[in-house]
Amino acid sequence: MRAPLAILLPAFAFAASLAGAAPLSYDDARHLLNRTGFGATDAEIRRVAGMTREEAACTLLAETRTTAVTPPPAWTSDSGPLRYPRGQDASPEERKRFQQEQVRDGLELRGWWIGEMLDTPSPLTEKMTLFWHNHFVSAQQKVKLALLMYRQNVTLRENALGHFGDLLHAIARDPAMVLYLDSAQNRKGTPNENFAREVMELFTLGEGHYGEHDVKEAARAFTGWSLNRETGRFVFRPLLHDYGAKTVLGRTGNLDGDDVLDILLAKPETAEFVTRKLWREFVSAEPDEREVKRIAVRLRESRYDIKVALQALLTSDAFYAPENRGTLVKSPVDLVVGTLRQFGMRPGETVPFAVATAAMGQNLFGPPNVKGWPGGDAWINTNTLLARKAFLDRLFRADDAVGRGHTAAAPEMAGSASAMTEAITPAAAPADASGLARKIRFMRAMDRGLRRVHFDSDAWFDSLGGLSSARPANASRVLLAFAPQTEAQATAEPLEIVRQIVLDAAYQLK
């Protein structure tokens, strides 16, 4: 790891500002790790503290991966034909069985991803995979098949820190995307403009940089991009493709889909659009347009090397500016995965935690629409804030209270369970007696899952070191970007100190 770092360093050294040459403080390192990963531990923070900005960013980028470390659910390696009910011939039982199967597989898939986020040696890889999931949105609600959602996730991770152009080309022919944005319905003579529109508006240029005519013409270029319904793999159907001349953004020719994507990539607006979105994810809610333009040029000149953009963002003065610290709302995944990682909790069963993020408004593999989760302040409303607090309270309640709280917690979980099942299968949420019984069984299992997590608060404080009188201050320093609204009492029980800090509003921010 040190070797590539030494090679990379000189290349970036020029751009480093004076402040960038100074070693990162503990607070700087925590800020960097909480923005690029999930809930950094004291040990993780200490590893990075003392590096320069350049070194720290290089280290994190050098550690990124292209594959998951967690073995996926067994059904992801099924090579047989896809089994799903077709058309009017499918019997109600067949449809029902399929739906239940997909709900079950979908839950398992969500649990798998949460598990990967917990175990990965490179949180930045998962953060970027999630970032692209929210950029190139597809949702199981429409795609239905959990298998295709899994394959898309693999593609996103493979390219998460590669080249944006490769990712764009891969996603355009990703089967889940082909279904999600109706490319499969896009045929010569009867074009479906869904993908052509969104690829310009949401994936590359952004609104205002193309016209309706460009959408119509681009849609023709993508005709015939379809999927094989037996294998679930991408297929190009020449008979359905429109081979006529098209004009997209001023370029004319017998353009196909790949040509259109390259036209989009050649536009500076695309690099700026992507940079702006990365800025909002990592730096602040309000991008600095001059900086965006500067970084976007480097992104485009590097043939859209995502690492180049991240290196620039993560070493910028804006990234470390005091006024940008603690100003981003943690996503539900940040909160749930970050808390578990932070406190060294590794639940055996991860599905309940995927259900918990769904209850807080982030149902993995199920963004609300093609625009993705709006994020930012929109993560927090009365419902989701109480879901967050109830979740944290549940994790850090004293053990004797857990016993008492058992039945009391059941209704809370009922909400999340229904949020999840309804999210995957809307309206089908069963209201009949057997459905209700299933729902209750499900929510009890979820509740048991949450209660099984083990946390030894004494050991945690011991690992931080220091006097017991400094416990609230030491804990706040690891956990919070700024001072809590209310200081915990040093004389309180260790678990109570943690509980108070995580219930503080400051814990919702990163």
Partner: protein, 384 residues
């Protein structure tokens, strides 16, 4: 509510300081309560308001058609599903308006997308983040001392109250909400915008919790089951003294792709029982005359039944408006079953945004063009 009535209301409000506050935002008559009932999954309109005299109906529904002698006749051509019999009394009192063919142009047949269109009052190809009520309360805020702008009962998603700075409370039961609300922190100092937002939401939770009670004594008997419980919770919420502009309850399960007859009969029975209990509770609270109850759903179902004794996703549907000041009767048009679109669906007769415009303009006295992103004709469904 016509202009004359509104002036009367404003004059009365001037006498009570509580309301005068609300009227600082011009025209917000939020003492008028709105209760939304979401028929989640897409209720089949054609078997809710049955065109029993139409031969095309019987041809499209060889198995599911409801015979003339079973419907609750409302006119010479249409009648209610037999499970809605409890609503007959309201119909006779002219407190029930039935809206036929409520929908929108270029309908989307996905549950998710279509309910989003309804909740945000967007065009079919437009993506908006904020609910139509969120936008409304943005331009015409409710009185500050209200317990909340709106309360969502029994569903985690805020629907028409999503996004923005709305004071929307979602709760399963009042007891649970009050228990969880103890985790909210009363005060704080905001050092940045995100923190400010969180502290505001904590404040909203505490404000609602300080006004809601879980044990308001009502002599109304509520039906058993989840929907009856939701109606009971809604009634408890409405009983709070501080006020709330909107309450939404949800009745799920209408996605009847197979075996529709039994499922829909049960659900419509629950709906009728719940609405009847709600009316009784509101009469007890003296609120029936200033309450408007409105049903809505993402879409209706296809006129032609499928081979599984069910119906697939359709477009426009029938909706109900109830209340002490409702001008009862039939509105809109029966779907023209002999002139269905290529995918077998009827055209809509009433744009759902006209229903919203009616709520805004005539029930609350608010200009609807801003919140709804355009002008939509109001419906004469309220008595002067």
């Amino acid at each position: 509510m016509d202009r004359r009535n509104f002036v009367k209301l404003a004059a009365a409000a001037a006498l009570t300081p509580r309301l005068a506050f609300g009227l600082a935002a011009p025209g917000a008559g939020y003492r008028n309560l709105l209760v939304l009932i979401e028929l989640k999954g897409g209720n089949d309109g054609l078997n809710t308001l049955v065109p029993y005299a139409d031969p095309a109906y019987h041809a499209l529904r060889p198995k599911l058609a409801i015979a003339r002698d079973r419907v609750v006749q409302l006119s010479e051509s249409v009648g209610l599903h037999p499970a809605l019999e409890p609503l007959a009394a309201l119909w006779k009192r002219r407190e029930l308006a039935v809206l036929q063919g409520v929908g929108y142009p270029d309908p989307n047949l996905s549950h998710f997308r279509s309910i989003e269109i309804w909740d945000t009052a967007s065009k079919s190809d437009e993506y908006l983040q904020e609910g139509w009520l969120t936008r409304t309360f943005g331009v015409a805020p409710t009185p500050k001392e209200f317990a909340a702008d709106g309360v969502i009962v029994g569903s985690p998603d805020l629907g028409p109250l999503a996004g923005g700075g709305t004071r929307a409370i979602a709760l399963a039961t009042t007891e649970q909400f009050l228990r969880q609300a103890r985790l909210a922190v009363p005060e704080g100092k905001a050092t940045n915008k995100a923190l400010q937002h969180i502290l505001k939401v904590e404040g909203d939770i505490l404000q609602a919790a300080s006004h809601l009670k879980a044990d308001y004594a009502l002599s109304t008997e509520f039906p058993e089951g989840p929907f009856g419980n939701a109606i009971k919770t809604a009634s408890q919420v409405i009983a709070n003294r501080a006020g709330v502009a909107v309450v939404r309850v949800t009745l799920p399960g209408f996605d009847t792709h197979s075996g529709q007859a039994a499922t829909q009969a049960r659900l419509l029975g629950e709906l009728a029982g719940g609405v009847t209990a709600l009316r009784s509770a509101l009469l007890e609270l003296g609120r029936w005359n200033d309450t408007l109850v409105l049903s809505y759903a993402e879409f209706g179902r296809r006129p032609k039944e499928n081979l599984s004794g069910g119906t697939d996703h359709g477009t426009s549907s029938v909706h109900f408006v109830l209340g002490g000041r409702v001008a009862g009767g039939l509105y809109g048009e029966q779907p023209a079953l002999d002139r269905l679109s290529g995918d077998g669906n009827p055209a809509h007769a009433i744009d759902f945004r006209s229903v919203y415009a009616t709520v805004l303009e005539r029930w609350w006295g608010i200009s609807s063009a801003g919140p709804l992103g355009g002008r939509f004709a109001t419906l004469p469904i309220l008595r002067a």
